[in-house]
Symmetry: C2
Subunit: 174 residues, 2 copies
């Protein structure tokens, strides 16, 4: 990637979220920064998910997912579990406080400010990733406090970006 494109993209602001989905009784979730509201009427959000991720398979199959908004105090261990491990190898929800929507989709009770359930309306193929766009059908307030931002994660917590992320930008020229 061109050095200046890299630097421009790095100036942008994001939050950090866990996107969760299920396939019957099998639950999974992953960290992402690419969640954003795209319309207000109706309330719709979009999320970008790497096609290699188990979360992608589940959302594609069921057309449903949840978004949990992470709080600033989220421990690095938790981010490691949901951001750097695959749900193909472990059950990420085994030691995590969560509830399920009626649909079976889980959402976090720990490290979370708020959660919402989304039903997919459109899937946009972007090569490495799919952008799932859907209506917010449920909302939950979980706790109070500041949200975890991508900036705080990188600059205060000194966290890294997983290679399947939409914003895994490698500077190839200088």
């Amino acid at each position: 990637m061109d050095e200046w494109i890299f630097k421009s993209l790095c100036a942008m602001t994001y939050g950090l979220y866990v996107v969760s989905s299920c396939d019957g009784e099998k639950l999974n979730g992953q960290i992402t920064n690419t969640v954003f509201q795209v319309t207000a009427d109706p309330a719709r959000v979009a999320v970008g998910v790497n096609k290699k991720n188990l979360t992608h398979d589940y959302i594609e199959k069921t057309g449903r997912f949840s978004v949990s908004v992470l709080k600033q105090e989220t421990p690095m261990l938790f981010i490691g579990l949901f951001g750097f491990k695959s749900g193909r190898d472990i059950n990420k929800f085994e030691k995590t406080g969560y509830k399920k929507y009626e649909s079976g989709v889980p959402f976090l009770l720990e490290n979370s400010l708020a959660a919402m359930e989304i039903t997919v309306e459109q899937s946009v193929d972007l090569g490495t990733h799919t952008l799932f766009i859907g209506s917010v059908v449920k909302g939950e307030k979980i706790s109070d406090g500041p949200a975890l931002t991508y900036d705080y994660y990188h600059n205060v917590m000194k966290g890294k970006t997983q290679k399947n992320a939409t914003t895994y930008n490698v500077e190839t020229s200088s």
Copy 2:
């Protein structure tokens, strides 16, 4: 909008940007918070634009736009000009420092940390808004410092949200 959906959406994190476009010599730009990177290879961003906005007409016609990342010290007067006035009534660039890409698309030299030029690859119809998705073909570093976030704009600068925004969430029940 349901109270809990409203509260969940409000917990999300955004930056603030000016999306600019042109139609020949006519230039226009508007404030938005809905800009985000959707893939890294190639570098692609998406932006949600209200169909009523002049920027929407220009991007739809030319397939090109720029994104300027606003800096934290951006004055309220500037946000008022680009966020609450229509380019149908005034020339927003008349008293603003800017440059043009070879394509003619302008980008900001003031109140900006970085800028990028994007060519549209896909347009997703979302009713009130279109989500334009495209490749980043140019990047510019303009200045150093922290970015203006939506949270800072609302809670420190006490700014409001324009009614055509993707995140103009009105709480209808309580």
